[in-house]
């Protein structure tokens, strides 16, 4: 005799029931946890921006953010201005850090003017300009917060990624890679925008030459490294007019 569970009608019933149960479970879980997750993301953005301008709790060789409980207060204290650059128009918006760079990139592709957020930070009398950028790694998205001085010399960088290979591409968020960017010039000596290449052949593993527009690559992570370099080149270039204006005034 055929087993009860072999019948087509039972199979169909089981499949439908399973989809309903699993779907309901996951949907209610996701919507139930969404506010908490969004809040975590918001605080993380503040932590990232603060990290890039040197407000962090780095110890030894590990990268440590300020704690989430202190982040909003420090963000308020150190970030003096949040700007949104739209073509020639520059507006202030204290929610600018919530602008989704991914969405802006997509809307720029569709022909709209991209809104570029820029955060102006002050620490110990020094002014930092922090820009969020985004690009592609090997498997998925990579993004970064780069802080610069008014000459577009990098003062700090925080890199992060969606799913780069652990031990290889994922090492872009390790201190030894991120700290290499500090002091690197984005412009050539003649003032042309060059970006910072992630190079396998710059012969400068200790990164003593800060004006060569290159840092040392990570072995085994060529595509992630190229993605980081392309992201810096494509996205930070958009901020060049702002810095040129800054100098004129």
């Amino acid at each position: 005799m055929e087993k009860r569970t072999d019948k087509n009608s039972y199979t169909l019933f089981f499949a439908v029931a399973m989809v309903v149960v699993v779907g309901t479970l996951l949907a209610s879980l996701a919507s139930g946890l969404k506010p908490t997750i969004d809040e975590n993301r918001r605080l993380e953005k503040q932590q990232n921006i603060l990290y890039a301008m040197g407000v962090n709790e780095n110890e030894g060789t590990s990268a440590n953010f300020v704690s989430t409980t202190k982040a909003p207060e420090l963000f308020e204290k150190h970030i003096t201005k949040q700007l949104v650059i739209e073509g020639d128009k520059i507006t202030e918006d204290d929610q600018a850090y919530l602008i989704d760079v991914k969405k802006e990139q997509a809307s720029a592709k569709a022909g709209n003017v991209r809104r570029l957020p820029l955060f102006v930070g002050e620490k110990d009398g020094v002014t930092y300009y922090i820009a969020p950028i985004r690009g592609k790694g090997l498997w998925d998205a990579v993004w970064a917060y780069i802080s610069m001085d008014e000459n577009m010399v990098i003062q700090g960088a925080y890199f992060d990624h969606q799913g780069e290979t652990p031990g290889l591409g994922a090492n872009i968020k390790e201190r030894y890679f991120m700290d290499d960017f500090i002091g690197e010039h984005l412009l050539s000596p003649t003032g042309e925008f060059k970006g910072v290449a992630v190079s396998k052949s710059n012969n400068d593993p200790k990164n003593e030459n800060k004006t060569d527009n290159a840092v040392d690559a990570i072995a085994g992570a060529t595509i992630t490294g190229d993605g980081v370099a392309a992201m810096i080149k494509n996205d930070l270039k958009l901020y060049v007019p702002y810095f040129e204006n800054l100098k004129k005034n």
């Binding site: 569970t5 072999d6 039972y10 199979t11 089981f14 499949a15 399973m18 699993v22 479970l25 996951l26 879980l29 996701a30 946890l33 908490t36 997750i37 975590n40 993380e44 060789t61 590990s62 498997w139 969606q162 799913g163 780069e164 290979t165 652990p166 031990g167 290889l168 994922a170 593993p205 200790k206 072995a219 085994g220």
Partner: protein, 214 residues
């Protein structure tokens, strides 16, 4: 009688050595190659798989009499995916830092063939308690190999263990590097993981001749 009978103990112990999922059953090779470039990643992956396989085996075992055999693979896949998403969402909400560390592994767990393999080969035909032990045992056997491979790859490839520079500083030329030692960058690439796994299989079969097939 204790908590675990002799048979139960075997369920946990066998996969650790003579019935190891990676070196004997040759399952789970994909993730063993992908994420063993450093020790920390190997350890995190090992713990995640113990968790998912332990619970997944119990769930499948409880459902074993009602799952229609025609669509059982899809059902198994749905159970793993659901478990993994629940864990991922809960971590994102209540332990955001940890969820970022685990980020890349979550997808890899769903596609890990050990999990499907144990559902299919064991949980569908055994009770929940035995399935739980089998899941823990196999995941631990997988984890041991992962950690072993991660240990050698990180040590020889980057000269570090868990991020600590145990061999000295390769740029400043201190410790072993002062004597002219160099890191082997090839160890960081996936093919070397396969070779390390091969060496482990070789050593294991040399020590236990019963494992050699004709």
């Amino acid at each position: 009688m204790g908590l675990l009978s002799k048979k139960d103990v075997a369920l946990i112990k066998d996969p650790l050595a003579d019935d190891n999922p990676i070196t004997i059953q040759v399952l789970g090779i994909c993730s063993a190659l992908a994420i063993t470039a450093e020790l920390k990643a190997s350890i995190v992956m090992a713990i995640s798989v113990v968790f998912v396989l332990g619970i997944g085996n119990v769930v499948i075992s409880l459902m074993r009499n009602i799952i229609p055999s025609k669509i059982r693979i899809i059902v198994q896949l749905t159970v793993v995916a659901t478990l993994v998403i629940i864990v991922d969402q809960v971590l994102k909400a209540y332990s955001y830092e940890l969820s970022k560390t685990l980020g890349a592994f979550v997808g890899l767990i769903i596609t890990n063939c050990i999990i499907m393999g144990r559902f299919e080969a064991f949980a569908l035909g055994n009770g929940p308690w035995r399935s739980f032990l089998d899941g823990i045992g196999n995941a631990a056997g997988y984890g041991i190999i992962l950690i072993l491979v991660g240990f050698f790859r990180e040590l020889l490839g980057s000269g570090t263990l868990l991020g600590y520079k145990v061999l000295g500083d390769s740029v400043e030329k201190t410790g072993l590097y002062a004597l002219g030692y160099e890191n082997n960058g090839f160890m960081l690439l996936s093919p070397m993981a396969l070779i390390v796994v091969g060496i482990i299989i070789w050593v294991q079969r040399t020590r236990n001749k019963a494992l050699i097939e004709d």
